[in-house]
Amino acid sequence: MIMSMAIKSKPILVKQAVCRYLSTSPVQRLYIQNNLHNDQTHTSQPAMDPNAKLYDFRSDTVTAPTDEMFEVMKKATRNDSVFEEDDSVHELERHVADLTGHEAGLFCASGTMTNQLGLRVHLTQPPHSVVCDARSHVHLWEAGGIAFHSRASVSPVIPRNGVHVTATEIEGNLIEPDLHTAPTRVVSLENTLSGMVMPLQDMQEIAALARDRGLAMHLDGARLWNAHVASGVPLHEYGKCFDSMSLCLSKGVGAPIGSMLVGNRKFIDRARHFRKLFGGGWRQAGSIAAAAKYCIDTVVPTMDATHALTRYLADQLVSLDIDLQNPVHTNMVLIDTARVGLNIQKDVAPALLRKNIKIGGMGSKSRIVLHHQIDKEGVDLLLSVFREVLAQHNTRKFQQEQELASAEA
């Protein structure tokens, strides 16, 4: 599957030996199955070897702060950022705003907060609605935030190509003003989504459509950094397409906490007020902001290597006859083990835990996420466990078949 790219971006889909995209389940359920983490409602088995290094492949949110980061945090300013008095926070906000070509930024505790704030400011008065990809984080994973915070409906779009929504699909799902309707007010896109990059050209087409119809454009760019590194598109080129963007700092970028909302000055002022309403008015946030800026400077350049490692992992898994649900563009591999007959929770996860490796997923589906704190050793360890489990499974299967055969005879 080759996608057409704008001239500026380089091809991002690497040729893979064998790639099967199985997507017979409804898209939504797919995502939910992948993301059944060991959250607090799950009983998690204790890791077996306390001395071995822990590898957590469930999400890039697990990136941990380093000693170096705490030194950087110590040097940050320590003023009250509720009263906008902290220089380190200003520096970070200015930096990300500049990178994305926007006027101002707002540093918040989470991506959910920056997404919901962004949407909330655009959504001034009901009836109104948001159109987005059916698998969007803002729609599925923010505790019903759009309805709660903005009293808006959502028009979820299932993209036909399985990778990203197109301008045609967005247009076809817009709700016109009418006596009965909640007219579309915001188009909310996500890049990357399930690790997949949305091409700049499609974003530009959708932006043109939105501007034509007087709709606001918001981007959930939690992992926009990955898209930028993988595609070569500068952040400010993405920035041109959107009225507001949310960029996460605590995922692949590696900061302990935080996310940025960018937009024009008036927008950010309004968002700041809403942030206080949401309970996001934090005091001496300078140190966290300094850690985040440090990470942008030092970690984002390493994403290329993480992506390469991810492609290596994907290739190896595919060579074991494990299928991929989606093309691998950045730091995620979404696998389907149905064809090889493995159950993630029953067969794979326990074996991995014994080697101090954590993985998410359920049924035959799992999402494996890499980040800069995972080395090749960890990936090879993961692969070796997969091989082991497969071998045992095949042996069992063979023995069962033998028994059946002799029983019939």
Binding site: A76, N115, G144, G145, S250, P256, L277
Partner: protein, 395 residues
């Protein structure tokens, strides 16, 4: 090098590079006594952060965060806790989690933070009306609640939650009064929430254990980033099931943060080192400041019971002129935005040392001697004007 740059900044901010204790840099600092939220993290806290756990708190997996939550819950006589980014968040969560379906309302003291300074959160988060009561006495009482609670099931939004604040404007709600409110709430089946952002101050001042106050309430919010001194954070405590639901609501509010272990470690450090003795010292210092100002003919709009003084210049001097003098001579910043030019809220914390109080008194003595007039006879203005953000006091 830093001395010259700092000297020229007019609205000085405290540099983190230099420890407060270094005498040579003292005169280049401005001591901000408009709020105890200005307590700054210290170098030791950052070292402590390094030793914290680094797991993802969205999944409730971070040991340092869980440890802080359990410790605070235990201190307050409750089962479980939730560490959040701000007191606004823990208050709104505490109230929200007890409200199930409109029509419903929350009864509060008219001066409450949850009503005045949380951006209309009660209406927004829970679709609840607010019954704001001006108490007959110093604090909300059972009589006030009886008189103003809404019971009309046809046209009214029934009272479901009573929210008390302790300390409120630095004053302490007496324990017997809180006990009476508790009993009445149980009778009427109201949930009782306490905004205990500065509950620590109340406990330190009276000697009454925190739990004696807090176990009387269904949900309690206590702040760590004010007098306790942590850079960020507040904890909501209640029973396990309520906290589980509050955690879910916290995600909805965008409060699901990841590696919060470091922040939790800083907070624990503060509970170990600031709370035990520094808070009591601060309260003694506040009393000393108040008594000094009183001798100069000033009054206080409210009793001085913990770390706050609502100083009323009574027209003896112009508040604005006094504030300018304090800034120039003593490098102390107070909020002089009261339109009546009389009342300011002074808040001390453990990072305001003794010599600052001495300086304030010295400067004020001279100022009153040189510019003092006869005290004015009309009564003071609305205390709300003394709150830092009331007049959008941004330079």
């Amino acid at each position: 090098m830093f001395a010259t740059t700092l000297k020229h900044t007019c609205r000085l901010q405290r540099s983190s590079f230099v420890s407060l204790a270094t005498p040579s840099f003292k005169r280049y600092f401005t001591y901000d006594i408009t709020s105890d939220t200005t307590t700054q993290p210290t170098d030791v806290m950052f070292d402590r952060m390094k030793t914290a756990s680094k797991e993802d708190d969205v999944f409730g997996m971070d040991a340092s965060t869980n440890q802080l939550e359990n410790r605070v819950a235990q201190l307050l006589g409750h089962e479980a806790g939730l560490f959040c980014a701000s007191g606004g968040m823990t208050n709104q969560l505490g109230i929200r989690v007890s409200l199930h379906q409109p029509p419903h309302s929350v009864l509060v003291d008219a001066r409450s933070h949850v009503h005045l300074y949380e951006c209309g959160g009660i209406a927004y988060h829970a679709q609840a009306s607010v019954t704001a009561v001006t108490p007959k006495g110093q604090h909300l009482s059972v009589e006030d609640i009886k008189q103003h609670a809404i019971r009309d099931e046809l046209c009214g939004a029934m009272t479901r939650v009573v929210s008390v604040e302790n300390t409120l404007n630095g004053t302490i709600m007496p324990l017997p009064q809180l006990e009476a409110i508790r009993e009445y709430s149980l009778n009427q089946r109201y949930k009782l929430h306490m905004d205990g952002a500065r509950l620590w101050e109340a406990s330190v001042a009276t000697g009454i254990p925190l739990a004696d106050y807090s176990r009387l309430c269904d949900t309690v919010s206590v702040c760590l980033s004010k007098g306790v001194g942590a850079p960020i954070g507040s904890v909501l405590v209640s029973d396990k099931e309520t906290i589980r639901r509050a955690r879910h609501l916290r995600k909805l509010m965008g409060g699901g943060w990841r590696q919060s272990g470091g922040l939790a470690a800083a907070a624990e450090y503060c509970l170990d080192h600031v709370l035990p003795s520094r808070m009591k010292d601060t309260q003694a210092r506040t009393l000393r400041l108040w008594q000094g100002l009183q001798r100069l003919g000033m009054q206080s709009a409210l009793p001085v019971e913990t770390n706050m003084i609502f100083i009323d210049t009574c027209g003896r001097v112009s508040l604005r002129a006094w504030a300018q003098q304090l800034l120039d001579q003593a490098h102390v910043r107070i909020d002089a935005s009261d339109p009546d030019d009389r009342i300011a809220r002074l808040v001390l914390h453990y990072q305001i040392p003794d010599h600052v109080v001495d300086n304030i008194l010295d400067v004020t003595t001279t100022f009153v001697r040189d510019h003092g007039k006869e005290p004015s006879t009309f009564s003071p203005s609305n205390l709300q004007n003394a709150y830092p953000s009331a007049n959008n006091n941004k330079s």
